[in-house]
């Protein structure tokens, strides 16, 4: 029997009590990531991908109600006491956020902020931790790391700050790295460098990566597996190659159509998906994508489709999957 996945999430649900009633931001999400692999979670803003990430980390505000199972290397962490959970953060699992400009504390130097995790989890002295932090900063290719370590975030560029965040996240060699849109706020050239860096560190340390993004180009280049989320649920889950070759959910088909591609779209309009994301406090019954779906049938509006395998390792939550027949018929 093989080793348990680095991360296994089963039936994860997150609810928030709001003025307008209970909002189910994440609804029955399941996936797994093996060590040294990258799972991309793709979807529009508000689909629940960041909430899923924060739920795994245990960083949701106290009023959020989380249910389901989260296993880290086989160990159930969803039911751990907050204090136990805290000790795992930064050591066993770490997270890099979207906004490098605001995610570092302006009042402390880059080195101090990386060293802090090392002192906490590995019990290093202040001096040892700082020396290790400089090494980590050099490792994430910050030039002149010894000098940069003594600088404050405002003295660093956006790309460099994100490298500091990555150094901080990986300082204690966690089993799991969650990167929530780590490059959205960065220049295109820097984006590529940062993602390449994450890939490289992943190969080197065997860390499992959950890469949250809305950029399908990023998915194609950096992820082995993909989970497409829509309105709090997983619409489709597949190896990246299969997802791009034969998408099995109408929403994925729409996303692929809406993804700008160089050359092809030149002169033409960008395709888009008609309609808007449903109101999460009052989701439609049945399939949540049904109101926007060009392939919908009567059943879609009544009964929510389960996430079912249509090919080995390829699951889709659609009554009409596999879609090839419909697409061929339409062509």
């Amino acid at each position: 029997m093989s080793a348990p996945p680095a991360l296994e999430v089963r039936d994860l649900a997150v609810e928030f009590a709001t003025d307008r009633g209970i909002l189910r931001a994440v609804d029955g999400v399941s996936f797994a990531v093996a060590p040294g692999r990258t799972l991309a979670i793709v979807g529009e803003s508000g689909c629940g991908k960041s909430v899923t990430a924060l739920a795994i980390m245990g960083l949701l505000p106290p009023h959020a109600r989380v249910s389901g199972s989260i296993r880290l290397a086989g160990r159930e962490i969803a039911t751990l006491a907050p204090e136990e959970r805290r000790k795992m953060r930064g050591a066993e699992m770490a997270m890099v956020f979207q906004e490098p400009m605001t995610s570092l504390n302006p009042a402390f130097t880059a080195g101090e902020q990386v060293a802090e995790a090392l002192r906490l989890h590995q019990g290093l002295s202040r001096r040892e931790a700082f020396a290790r932090a400089v090494e980590m900063l050099a490792h994430v290719r910050i030039p002149d790391a010894a000098r940069r370590a003594r600088q404050y975030p405002h003295q660093l560029s956006g790309g460099m700050r994100q490298r500091v965040m990555i150094a901080m996240a990986l300082a204690c060699r966690p089993r799991l790295l969650i990167a929530d849109e780590p490059t959205t706020a960065l220049d295109v050239t820097v984006q590529a460098q940062i993602l390449a860096l994450i890939d490289e560190l992943k190969r080197e340390t065997g860390t499992a990566v959950v890469l949250i993004t809305h950029d399908l180009g990023v998915v194609a280049d950096h992820a082995e597996d993909v989970a497409v989320m829509y309105a709090g649920r997983i619409a489709e889950r597949a190896p990246a190659a299969a997802l791009f070759a034969v998408p099995q959910h109408p929403y994925t088909v729409g996303l692929l159509g809406a993804a700008p591609r160089l050359g092809r779209a030149a002169g033409g309009r960008l395709a888009s998906i008609e309609g808007a994301v449903p109101d999460m406090a009052r989701p439609p019954p049945g399939c949540r994508f049904a109101p926007r779906c060009p392939f919908r049938i009567a059943r879609c509006a009544e009964e929510a489709p389960p996430l079912a395998e249509v090919a080995p390792g390829h699951a889709s939550a659609c009554w009409r999957a596999p879609l090839e027949r419909i697409l061929e018929a339409a062509a």
Binding site: M57, L59, R86, K87, M88, R89, G90, A91, A94, M95, F97, E99, T102, S103, L104, N105, P106, A107, F108, T109, Q113, E116, A117, L120, H121, Y152, H154, Q155, M165, M168, A169
Partner: protein, 315 residues
């Protein structure tokens, strides 16, 4: 940094010059003739009045009076009190330590109560601890000092007999007695500061706690205590320090009512007596000293600001 400091110091002089003009000018608007007050019983005698006026240069044009005063001040001579017949500088040096002691104690009380309370209420936002802290702050801000002072004297000095109701013993004379005579007025002044600081600390902490870097700190696995007291507080303190310095400056300017109630011979009492007696040199000297303290404190505030906010250090 050094250039900045030099520039800031260079600004002090013109600031004080403008202030000196304002102080002198505003005083002329006060009703009442100092010569009449000083003449006392003999106020009916025009000769006595003329003599007094000549002696005090009150018969000279205003600009001449102003320039004469300014010239003396620049050489360190604050003049003589018309009333008490003592050099103004000496009076100031005598009263300033009293007020400084009272101000420091009041500020410490205010800061030690207000800042932790503000942090606590931000961390426990919308829960009983927050409500309680807000109620205490409201009490501190809205209770008039004279009322609280009188109530404390009635309760602690008259009823319980724990502390002397009034008077002042210098620190150098008897440490315990000195603290005993100043702790009540310091507490009265401190409750006000505590209220103000609590409200501002709470607001600044709430802002800091909602920042991305706090989430990063939590993602690192830091205990909540470190997240709050190190990561959030360091940033929240920036506005609080500025406010604290201003409050401290206000305390140093003298707490008129509180000093009167507890008969503490400080700055507040000195300036009020001087105003009532139209003792212009004393009023001018005290107000100018207060202004100087304020200007210096704002410099200290800026330096503190830079110490806790690295973004300003390299600007």
């Amino acid at each position: 940094m050094w250039i900045w400091l030099a520039r800031r110091l260079a600004q002090i002089l013109p600031t004080l010059l403008v202030l000196s003009f304002l102080i002198f000018g505003l005083q002329q608007l006060m009703p009442g003739d100092p010569a009449l007050i000083l003449a006392g019983e003999e106020r009916g005698d025009p000769q006595v009045l003329a003599q007094i006026r000549a002696e005090l240069r009150l018969d000279r044009p205003l600009y001449e009076q102003y320039l004469h005063w300014l010239g003396s001040v620049l050489t360190g001579d604050f003049g003589f009190s018309w009333r008490i017949r003592m050099p103004v500088a000496e009076l100031i040096l005598e009263k300033l330590p009293v007020t400084a002691q009272l101000a420091t104690m009041a500020f410490l009380i205010g800061a030690l109560i207000g800042v932790p309370m503000g942090i606590l209420s931000a961390v426990r936002r919308d829960r009983p601890a927050d409500w309680a802290a807000n109620a205490v702050a409201l009490f501190g801000i809205s209770t008039p000092n004279f009322w609280l002072g009188i109530m404390l004297i009635l309760l602690i000095s008259v009823q319980l007999g724990w502390l002397p109701p009034s008077g002042y013993v210098p620190l150098t004379e008897d440490f315990r007695q000195s603290i005993a005579t100043t702790i009540m007025p310091a507490f009265v002044l401190g409750t006000n500061i505590a209220g103000v600081l609590m409200r501002h600390t709470r607001a600044a902490m709430l802002t800091a706690l909602s920042q991305d870097y706090v989430r990063t700190a939590r993602a690192k696995g830091l205990p909540e205590r470190v997240v709050v007291w190190k990561h959030a507080l360091r940033n929240a303190l920036i506005p609080v320090v500025t406010l604290g310095t201003i409050e401290f400056g206000r305390l140093l300017a003298g707490a008129v009512l509180t000093e009167q109630i507890f008969t503490i011979p400080g700055f507040g009492k000195l300036v009020v007596d001087a105003v009532f007696n139209r003792d212009y040199p004393v009023v001018q000297g005290v107000v100018l000293t207060t202004a100087l303290i304020f200007v210096l404190l704002s410099l200290v505030a800026d330096l503190l600001y830079m110490a806790i906010n690295p973004r300003l250090r390299h600007a």
